[in-house]
């Protein structure tokens, strides 16, 4: 885990229409293997450019960012969204819950957000964004979840997969696990898939 990276999880206060439609479409595609529940969130990974790092400085930066973030409207609309800074775990976890973390290849970094943060809090920042799909199956399907998650995730064919377009996106899959950073690293146009395959493999 990289302590210099803050992970901000932003999701809708009310039902997310994209998540609802994704869940319905996956039922159409996967039948009884479809997830029982689908959620969606934006994941922002905010990295401080400070070279010297200690626990106290990290905690102080964490607190300043959280205070500022909740009043700035830069990362979330407080009338519509709720935001949570993650503490080395996704908000939901369990053996039958999987996360698909996706970024648009070559377009996950936001210089505009980084510059605004620098103006507001000082220092240099790097900001990346992606989407997290949270898929939950019944507990008794726990052993199947890694396979089912991969099937649901990658739109490689018309009749299978939905959430990630491997031709233009990179993704990482997590089952009962999390990482910081969680966003896929490969971010250049046409970048080859990293070892282990960013359109396959489950953490």
């Amino acid at each position: 885990m990289n302590g210099r990276i803050l992970q901000l999880w932003v999701e809708r206060l009310e039902l997310d229409p994209a998540a609802w439609t994704a869940g319905h479409t996956l039922q159409l595609l996967m039948g009884q293997d479809a997830p029982a529940r689908v959620g969606r969130a934006d994941l922002w990974e905010i990295e401080s450019g400070d070279d010297a790092e200690d626990a106290a400085a990290g905690a102080e930066r964490h607190a300043r960012f959280e205070t500022w973030m909740r009043t700035s409207n830069l990362f979330m609309n407080p009338s519509r969204d709720r935001g949570k800074l993650l503490d080395d775990a996704a908000p939901e976890s369990g053996p039958s819950i999987g996360h698909v973390v996706a970024v648009d290849r070559g377009a996950s970094e936001s210089r505009a957000h980084a510059l605004t943060l620098g103006h507001a809090l000082g220092g240099r920042w790097k900001v990346r964004r992606g989407t997290v799909w949270t898929l939950a199956w019944p507990v008794e399907r726990g052993e199947d979840v890694p396979t089912l998650l991969e099937t649901a995730a990658f739109a490689k064919r018309r009749h299978t997969g939905l959430l990630v377009q491997p031709q233009s996106q990179e993704a990482r899959l997590f089952v009962h696990a999390w990482d910081r950073p969680a966003l896929p690293a490969a971010d250049s146009i046409g970048a080859p898939a990293p070892a282990g395959g960013s359109d396959g493999g489950v953490a």
Partner: protein, 285 residues
């Protein structure tokens, strides 16, 4: 005299599409008989048409990704079977996104449903996302969709999309398709021979691709909107070049403004392919 009925073209409307009316008018102006088939009709209602058009809009609110949910609609299986038989299928903007997400473009062997391209978020110099403007396309020979245009003709059309950048995991994929003649419409500089730079290529599409076909050439995914350039009246008064000149000359001329616009050639090419004998050419010099 025996008059043959015009070939009937299905305009397939899925929830959230919004360009079906002007698409039907453009088809009718080319001598074709358009028929609207909605999402409430059974997939079997799509059988037997001479051609199909998926119009523009925002199917399923672009949820997940533009075209991704519509691509899973069972109606796409009917269209895929028709594509394998050589039936012309045109997807405009959101329709193009659906064809790509459904694997009909660039397609593969009959029955193959592999997705081999993407229409990703536009990449602009200062930001990513939606852009609406008139662009210039180069109409390339060898396609039924460009048959009514002169070789290499510059065709102005409006584009309006947020996810229209043709891309593939393999960076050589789009250049290869272009070399194979599967890119009948490419973003181009207004004058032949000039380099293509932004905003000529308005979204960062690989190989400057504005429209890509399957290997047989009968299925076209086109991001700009020919139906919004079907009549001269739709051409902006300040558009540079010969089509703009023609538009300015027609100012106040009601009949002249109803004449064919630059996008009409695409529908005319389809009509010729289906045996409609109008032999009007689209070239403007």
């Amino acid at each position: 005299m025996i008059r043959h009925a015009a070939p009937t073209v299905a305009v397939v409307r899925l929830p959230g599409m919004n360009c079906e009316d002007e698409t039907m008018r453009a088809l009718a102006a080319a001598g074709l008989s358009p028929a609207l088939v909605g999402w409430d009709a059974a997939p079997a209602a799509l059988e037997g048409f001479a051609a199909y058009v998926l119009p523009g809009g925002f199917s399923y609110q672009d949820r997940v990704r533009a075209g991704a949910v519509a691509a899973k609609d069972p109606r796409l299986d009917v269209l895929a079977a028709a594509a394998d038989r050589g039936t012309p299928i045109l997807g405009i903007c959101n329709g193009a996104q659906i064809l790509v997400e459904a694997g009909l473009v660039p397609g593969g062997a009959p029955g193959e449903d592999r997705i081999a391209l993407a229409l990703a978020t536009n990449r602009l110099p200062d930001r990513d996302g939606y852009l609406s403007r008139w662009v210039t396309l180069e109409a390339r020979t060898g396609s039924l969709w460009t048959e009514a245009y002169a070789p290499g003709e510059r065709v102005p059309m409006p584009m309006a999309h947020g996810e229209g950048r043709f891309t593939a995991r393999d960076p050589g994929r789009l250049p290869e398709l272009s070399a194979r003649g599967a890119v009948p419409f490419a973003y181009a500089a207004a004058r032949a021979g000039e380099p293509v730079v932004w905003p000529d290529n308005p979204n960062g599409s690989a190989a400057d691709a504005a429209g890509v076909t399957n290997a047989a050439g009968n299925v076209l995914a086109l991001m700009p909107h020919p139906e919004r350039a079907d009549r001269l009246l739709q051409v902006p008064l300040d558009l540079p070049g010969p089509w703009g000149d023609r538009r300015r000359r027609a100012r106040g001329d009601v009949a002249g403004l109803a004449a064919a616009g630059p996008g009409h050639g695409l529908f005319l090419g389809l009509a010729w392919h289906l045996g409609v004998s109008t032999r009007e050419r689209m070239e403007v010099r």
